[in-house]
Amino acid sequence: MVVADVLTEQHAYVTFTVLLCIGLYMLIANDHLVKKIIGLNLFQTAIFLFFVASAYVDGGSVPIIPKKPPAGEVYVSPLPHVIVLTAIVVGVALTAVGLALCIRIYTEYGTLRVDVLREVMRDEGTLPGDEPDEVPTVEDGGESA
């Protein structure tokens, strides 16, 4: 069975795909801004997993070399780990900016739900792209693409 093989031997990559899809789905379909950001985090975490999994070497140990390395020892590749460390820092900074913007939006409009927010903004006349010529679904779907 090919499917069973993939699930058992490539489970890290399967998890990566599943997490990626869940994160993207949350980002698009959830109405709550903070939950959208959580979805974004999940999406990024999936990529971290992908990089760490790609570094795996069969039987390899942690890529920290002791003073007297035992001969013939195999290490996992350190480069993807370094990349993930950097990417985590970027992700944290993004989350911080996103949450700060959420606070601004909440103090301004008193809600974090997109549907309510759009209504408030429509009343206020500041809804982005509220010109009659625009198809509203395009505005919504922008994040999905």
């Binding site: 980002l27 950001i37 974004l40 480069l79 913007l101 982005p128 625009e134 693409a145």
Partner: protein, 545 residues
Amino acid sequence: MTDVLLPLMIVAPILAATLALLLGLRYDRAGWPVAAGTTTVLVGMAAALARAVYPQIGGEGGRVIHELGGWERPYGIELVADELSAALVVLITLVSLATLVFARVAGPRGNAFYAGYLLLTGGVLGVALTGDMFNMFVFLEITGLTTYALVASDRAGASAYAALKYLMVGTVGASLYLIGVGYVFLATGSLNMIDLRSAIAEVGYTDPLIQAGFAFVVAGFALKIALFPMHTWQPDAYQRAPDAVTTYISALVSTAAAYALLRVTYTVFTVEFLARNDAITTGVMIAAGISIVAGSALAAMQTDLKRTFAYSSVAQFGMIAAAAMIANETALLGAIVHLLGHGLMKFGLFLAVGMLGLGYGVETIDDLASLARRAPYTTGAMTVLGLALVGVPPSIGMLGKWYIALGAVESGAAGDPAGLAVAGVIFVSTLLTLAYVGRIVEQLYFAGVDETGHDEGVHAADGGVAEGDRVAEDERAADDSVGLARPTEGAPEVPIPGVPDRVPPASLAVLVGATLVAVGLGFAGFLAFELFEPFIQEVFAYAGR
């Protein structure tokens, strides 16, 4: 020695950003001087770098390389400046300095703004100069993060919402790029661009990992440069950001992403990859083609000035992406020229919109009615830049479009129907661009006011106003009739006799300068060919091997 310039150009603005904040603890207005000083130094550095890269202006020519920390390729991270990135660096530094002139009067004031501004400058310079795939991701994210913060620096709540939307789309874009880098890394084990070029050739251009990597990278950049179905963040962000920020990001942020697309496509994946994977290039070309038409059509439908020009950017970047996929020498030259020219033209247009907003409270196209009488120089520059955007010669806009269209026709003649389609799409888009620029020009010069003070734009549309009418209208304008846009309270005044515009004088000088350059560069077709010839030659020479 010149190779030290590369890390300095990235580090200096980032360090200066912290300096602006630190000095801000003690001095309230430290931000602007720090930012102005830093960008002035950066312009000097960019000039020195350009001198080293281009043999035409006295240098030795060839690329300048700096290995960070002395680690050699492929282990370390390289900073590289070649003909393409040096041109972008010059554009970035000049636009940064010029935007500061406007930001001084238009705001947003405060040291935090200037700190973010300097970080953004460092970020886009990093994108232009890096020679490492992962490093490019980091700089793209620095650019992105500061852009989100700057878009939100307007006080209105709507700008925070626009910024958050931009944050989500932009992050997904950068993450997709990162996945693409991951796939390529998995296939080759390298991250250095020059190194990857040969590594990818070894693995094979039709290897599924490489193909998937390219697809993810292009999808990520498509989000960042706002190709059609993924473009919706751009009008919101441009419209809601403060004027000075719109001026800056419209000129540079998407430009940096489009530069990254050209760089990754040509330096890393090479022309050979594009030739071998016809399905991918055709797919991207179709998306770009839809972008070109849809962006222009949406722009023609807008009433808000900033949104009009934002949608126009969608079309122009579609053109650049299409040219990148056509992959012949003429089209690539066109893509480079149009990339730089579009940055310059959008800088000028958004600067003019911001200045008119500052002086006359203008936001929509209807607000422009007869403004040419009140602000002849600002609106004149805006008209010239608008016509340059259409592609009226002589202008940089015409030059870029011409080369792209010519490249598309060449590719069509070589038997690729997609090339001919792109040429046709550019033609349609030019007509649509003329439609919305024409509407703006018509409002500026021909829409008058009647006795009751109502707009008469509709009346003026059928063939313009008779000469006698215009004189009469001028008289009415003189006694401050009701319908004309009036300067807002406290608007800065140009203290030059004979200049009636109520706009900041220094910004007016910058705007006129940008307009003259945009027109003057229209004559520089051969110069552009000469400057970028080595880069294009190298890209295509590699394909031949």
